[in-house]
Amino acid sequence: MSRPTPTMALKVMRSTGHRRVTVSWTISIVVLGLFTLAAIFAPLVAPYNPDQLDFGAIYANPNLAHWLGTDSLGRDTLSRIIYGARTALLAPLIVVIASTILGILLGLLAGWRGGWIDAAIGRLLDVLLSFPALLIAILAVALFGKGLVAPVIAMSIAYAPFVARLTRSLVISERARPYVSAYRVQGFSGGWIALRRVLPNVVPTVGAQSTLNFGYVLAELAGLSFLGLGVQAPTADWGAMINESQAGLVGGHFLPALIPAIAVVIVVVAVNVIGEEISERIGGGTPA
């Protein structure tokens, strides 16, 4: 028994719930589509300016003017949720893409070259994997200041090892297949085979697996903003909204904090359902 890696844990966590495609898949696509459209067309869709104060309507309950109510400064919650979807969706997207590219490059290099390069990259990945992603993000904020730039870069590095491990194992099994030696015999260089023939074969599986990281990254970045270390108030961001509205909880004003919290959960669930389905369809028999 080898030691289970976080990759295995992710595999375990997503290992059931398939074969019931239609309903949950459709709902998730619709939900994610709506949030994406809202994020892109925020200025057109949002009923109010997200930063517009209205001291006449502080802590308004949901009504016709404010469908989801207002917060402690009378700002429209629905508008802030719509604008907040921008950072909520864009930042994890960047992290997933960057970590996938970085991880594929490392994994391809390690799996293809083997030897000491493999050993060195393996050690590097081990070290990176001993840092929880949120911890690297917090360290990055401590070094480079608040905001999303440093955490997004840090999380891209933190998630790369998961991708690299998977890529490496796929590349190693590809390398043993006949087509690779066939190209070799014909005189194609190792680099050419790796980049032009092996890489395209592993990218779909790896990419599908990477979509599963989206939800975790979204939740962790929102958590960072909740701590006041990510997106800064008064910018409309779900984590920052919860942070700002937490004080109102004790006074019984639940909605300004609960609504962004629920938005996070809805998007995470939708993204996870979609990611599971994609990796189920593409990844099929993923080697652990």
Partner: protein, 317 residues
């Protein structure tokens, strides 16, 4: 044989720790500008303060010597001085460690108990309604990050129902437990799915094995079979993710302690980032990483005791 294995694991453990600590230490060197102004950001440093910081971090020394001083100090319990508290970092962290460890322990117990019970029930009813229900609920809970859990729990159980306090860590044993229940639930929620699914998976695997089928066909009661033949063998995989679990929980304390206003190591980390107290940040990050690496190594070493097949597998290699 065993000694060789232990030495090998210890070597690997030490190498990972050295590299991780170097990464944490030298991360400071990625910040452009001179180290004194980085360390004293946001303060108006007197010449004495500058001299003190230069002396404390050995900023005149070459970088690798600074690192050796830092890591050497760690081994003697000297983590440097905090910039925000005018106190030793070790004292500052030590004061807040008990409540954080209590929180992690409480959450870990909740996760293990609910996860193992839910996973066992699911495995015994594999494919039937209870199984699907449990999996759906666990998966849904897995999508609730700690800060969302904290908000919901505060709204419902602290403010609305007034069953638990929303703030602080309390005095005395029972009051402390009372204060720590909601925070540890908030931390536990998203991890139950991990233990639940691993339990279910390994139980299902064990239930399908021959010795279990033989035991069942001999007419042993299902509970006896599970207790004597399934459960023990199914424990291994749960044990192996405990490093992952503990590291995850330690990081969640940053969020949960901040949400519930608990003065622990997690909220100290956040506070130190806010107050630009880098020595404390550095020390806490190192402690969390060390906890993860060391727990993983212990799990690795103890694995053969729990599951003799693991030892046989290692020997066969």
């Amino acid at each position: 044989m065993i000694i060789r294995r232990v030495v090998g694991k210890l070597g690997s453990l030490t190498l990972t720790l050295v590299l991780a600590s170097a990464l944490i230490f030298f991360s400071r060197f990625m910040v452009p500008g001179d180290p004194v102004s980085f360390l004293l950001r946001g303060r108006q440093p007197s010449p004495e303060a500058i001299a003190a910081v230069t002396e404390q971090f050995g900023l005149n020394l070459p970088p690798w010597e600074q690192y050796l001083r830092w890591i050497g100090g760690m081994f003697q319990g000297d983590f440097g001085r905090s910039l925000q508290f005018r106190d030793e970092v070790s004292t500052v962290i030590g004061d807040r460690l008990p409540v954080t460890l209590g929180l992690v322990a409480l959450a870990a117990v909740m996760i293990l108990v609910t996860g193992i019970v839910a996973g066992t029930i699911a495995a015994l009813n594999r494919g039937r309604l209870p199984d699907r229900l449990i999996l759906t609920v666990l998966t849904a809970l897995g999508a609730i990050p700690p800060f969302v859990g904290a908000i919901i729990l505060i709204a419902v159980f602290a403010v609305q129902l007034n069953w638990f306090p929303a703030f602080g860590s309390g005095d005395g044993f029972f009051d402390t437990i009372h204060h720590l229940i909601l925070p540890s639930v908030a931390m536990a929620i998203s991890f139950i799915v991990l233990i639940g699914k691993i339990t279910r998976m390994s139980m299902v695997e064990q239930l399908g094995r021959e010795h279990v089928q033989v035991a069942t066909s001999r007419g042993l009661k299902p509970l006896t079979v599970v207790r004597r033949h399934v459960f023990r063998n199914a424990l291994g995989p749960i044990f192996t993710v405990s490093g992952l679990l503990i590291a995850g929980l330690l990081v969640s304390t940053a969020i949960v302690e901040s949400a519930f206003g608990i003065a622990g190591v997690g909220s100290l980390l956040v506070q130190s980032v806010n107050r630009l107290d880098f020595p404390v940040v550095q020390a806490i990050v190192l402690l969390v990483v060390a906890a993860f690496v060391i727990v993983n190594a212990i799990v690795d070493l103890l694995q053969p005791l729990i599951d003799p097949r693991a030892a046989a597998g290692e020997a066969g290699r």
